[in-house]
């Protein structure tokens, strides 16, 4: 059995802790008096988490290989991180959701095409992404809005990812839920029948796969990678099917199949896919076959501290036969920017630019060498002032920048992260002479600059596309 790549896991949690601290800094910049003491309290808690992470990092640096112990630290810190995240709702001051998040969502789901699922974004205290419906939420509070009041999709974004565009891919999944509801996709495959409650888990599983499929179509491998990045913050022991969600294994296999079939299973996605496989193998987590689901499974439960046995309804066995119908329906939805192989090729190049600190909002189809060649041709074939308008414009067209798609930018971000960020992490934290806080700051500054470039590239590419001919959205 192969040991999971502990360095990737440590890098993942170091990044999450740093992002949580960055959110706290953002709160501090707008804080009211009542929050000051709380901010200091959470700062000290975060210092404690960093100190916990120093132990496995130091041991690895010194050549030790007690991976089981390091994994234990990793999952403890993941748990501390998530409870701290949950408590941030105690703050009076919370920063506004960054406008780039809206730009991200609108680029994938343009208003003119998806006006019925116009979203509002709010923070989610639980480290989770979600989608809710305004009318439903009000009715839970006992406020029953008139149907004419209009509806609104509410997307939930965890605090920690407030400035992390690479995880916004999960919002594509959440918008997928809104679209599924709007188009009644699952309802058309499995009509709601009164008194048939046992069909509800099946319906919910189909909804999850539907949202995954939509996110995959739009974001390609970036969605699979970000999903794994999110999932691995939970102990593999709980990667089980539940009444609301299929087992993560099934979802990840479904994503892999989609990506492979569409020649989109990028080696970097494979990297994270293997990490997931190694983790589950290490903890001997059983993978449930969708064709032969058991009737009873062990499920987590907070009320009995440990776990309980849960019955899976027979109806879930119909899942494999329905998934094909679901795929057909999702494939028939028209999206302006579906992620394809050409986008990944572009993302590869953009990842290098990103690594060099460049913005990646646009690209040139022609290289500078080719432009020079065409310009020389134009100048040698014509005496000054003789070239006609078309000839001049044909050269100028080569100079023109084209805006990048959101999927290209985000995939470039993930490729860059897997190519370089883990090495960078190792390099910074391997330095013997600097103190822990300095290491975190250096790594944090690096993360900050990459995230900022991606965030601004999304914004700039959108503005660019509004001015580009034939790209009105």
């Amino acid at each position: 059995m192969q040991t999971p790549d502990i360095l990737i896991l440590l890098e993942e949690i170091v990044e999450k802790v740093w992002r949580l601290e960055a959110f706290l800094t953002e709160i501090e910049s707008i804080s009211v008096e009542e929050d000051k003491e709380l901010i200091q309290f959470y700062r000290s808690q975060i210092r404690g988490l960093k100190q916990r992470l120093e132990d496995p990092i130091t041991e690895i640096r010194e050549g030790q290989e007690d991976f089981r112990e390091y994994l234990r630290t990793y999952f403890d810190v993941c748990s501390h991180f998530q409870t701290m995240h949950q408590q941030f709702w105690l703050f009076v001051s919370l920063p506004k959701v960054y406008p780039e998040v809206y730009t991200f969502v609108h680029s994938l789901f343009p208003r003119n095409q998806f006006e019925d699922v116009e979203p509002t974004l709010v923070y989610c205290p639980i480290y989770n992404f979600g989608e809710a419906n305004a009318i439903d939420q009000f009715s839970k509070l006992g406020i029953f809005l008139d149907k004419g009041a209009g509806d609104r999709v509410i997307l939930l974004l965890p605090y920690v990812d407030f400035r992390n565009p690479m995880m916004w891919t999960a919002l594509a999944h959440e918008m997928g839920h809104a679209i599924e509801k709007d188009k009644g996709i699952v309802g058309s495959i499995l009509p709601e029948l009164p008194g048939r409650k046992e069909l509800e888990p099946l319906r919910r599983w189909l909804k999850e796969f539907c949202a995954d499929h939509i996110a995959l179509r739009l974001m390609g491998p970036a969605y699979l990678i970000s999903f794994i990045s999110y999932i691995i913050s939970l102990h593999p022991y709980f990667y089980v099917p539940t009444l609301t969600h299929p087992q993560p294994h099934s979802r990840i296999e479904y994503m892999r199949t989609y990506l492979e079939r569409n020649c989109l299973f990028h080696p970097k996605a494979q990297h994270y896919y293997e990490l997931f496989q190694e983790l589950t193998a290490f903890y001997k987590v059983s993978k449930f076959d969708l064709q032969q689901l058991p009737t009873e499974i062990t499920s987590p439960c907070p009320t009995c501290k440990y776990e309980y046995k849960m019955k899976l309804p027979e109806s879930l066995k119909r899942f494999p036969e329905l998934i094909h119908q679901l795929n057909e329906q999702v494939n028939s939805i028209s999206f302006p920017d579906v992620c394809g192989t050409e986008d990944l090729r572009r993302a590869e190049k953009l990842a290098e630019d990103l690594d060099h600190g460049f913005f990646i909002s646009s690209y040139k189809e022609t290289t500078m060498g080719e432009i020079r060649h065409h310009l020389n041709e134009l100048l040698t074939q014509n005496t000054p002032g003789q070239a006609n308008r078309e000839e001049i414009y044909s050269v100028l067209k080569l100079i023109e920048d084209k805006p990048n798609k959101v999927s290209q930018i985000i995939n470039a971000g993930w490729i860059q992260k897997i190519n370089r960020q883990i090495d960078k992490f190792q390099k910074i934290f391997e330095e013997d002479d600097s103190i822990l806080e300095e290491k975190f700051n250096t790594f944090g500054n690096y993360l900050e600059s990459i995230s900022y470039n991606i965030q601004k590239s999304i914004e700039t590419s959108k503005i660019h596309s509004l001015f580009a001919p034939g790209e009105k959205q």
């Binding site: 007690d66 630290t73 409870t83 949950q86 639980i126 992404f129 979600g130 501290k305 440990y306």
Partner: protein, 147 residues
């Protein structure tokens, strides 16, 4: 349905216990390599605290009578009990590890085998706490959302 704050407290409580045991493992690693700095002592003290809590909890549960001031330590043991650990057995083993941790803290010579066995035991004993914490996290995630 439990209150979200109560679940959060429970997660934190279980993670704190798991972390105490995990820190002890690092303390033992350092001691095994002959490193007796302040960090080693801090980590070993965390392990001692963990063992004391488990021992006291097991003793209270084994006695069959729990007074109101003992509810806290009884609760520590209840997680282990749920995972099938028996109070009398665990109490005896924990006392051995506790003595060993104290000895190492006082820089007494202890064999590598004893250190490895203690590390292993602490790992197994803290496992239910880590799982209980993540079980509750998993439950919260499933209410709504991505997973």
């Amino acid at each position: 349905m439990m209150d979200i704050l109560e679940i959060t407290n429970q997660i934190q409580w279980n993670t704190d216990l798991s972390s105490l045991a995990n820190r002890a493992q690092y303390g033992l690693n350092l001691a095994r390599r002959g490193k007796y700095g302040p960090k080693t002592i801090e980590h070993l003290s965390a392990g001692i605290r963990f063992c004391e809590l488990v021992r006291d909890g097991a003793a209270v549960v084994a006695s069959g009578k729990i007074t109101s001031d003992q509810l806290g330590v009884a609760r520590v043991f209840s997680v282990l009990e749920d995972s099938g650990v028996r109070p009398k057995e665990v109490k005896e083993k924990v006392e051995i590890v506790l003595m060993l941790l104290e000895a190492i803290k006082n820089m007494e010579k202890v064999s590598d085998r004893e250190i490895d066995e203690s590390k292993d035991f602490l790992g197994k004993l803290s496992d239910p706490y880590q799982k209980a914490a993540h079980g509750a996290l998993s439950f919260l995630r499933q209410q709504e959302g991505l997973y």
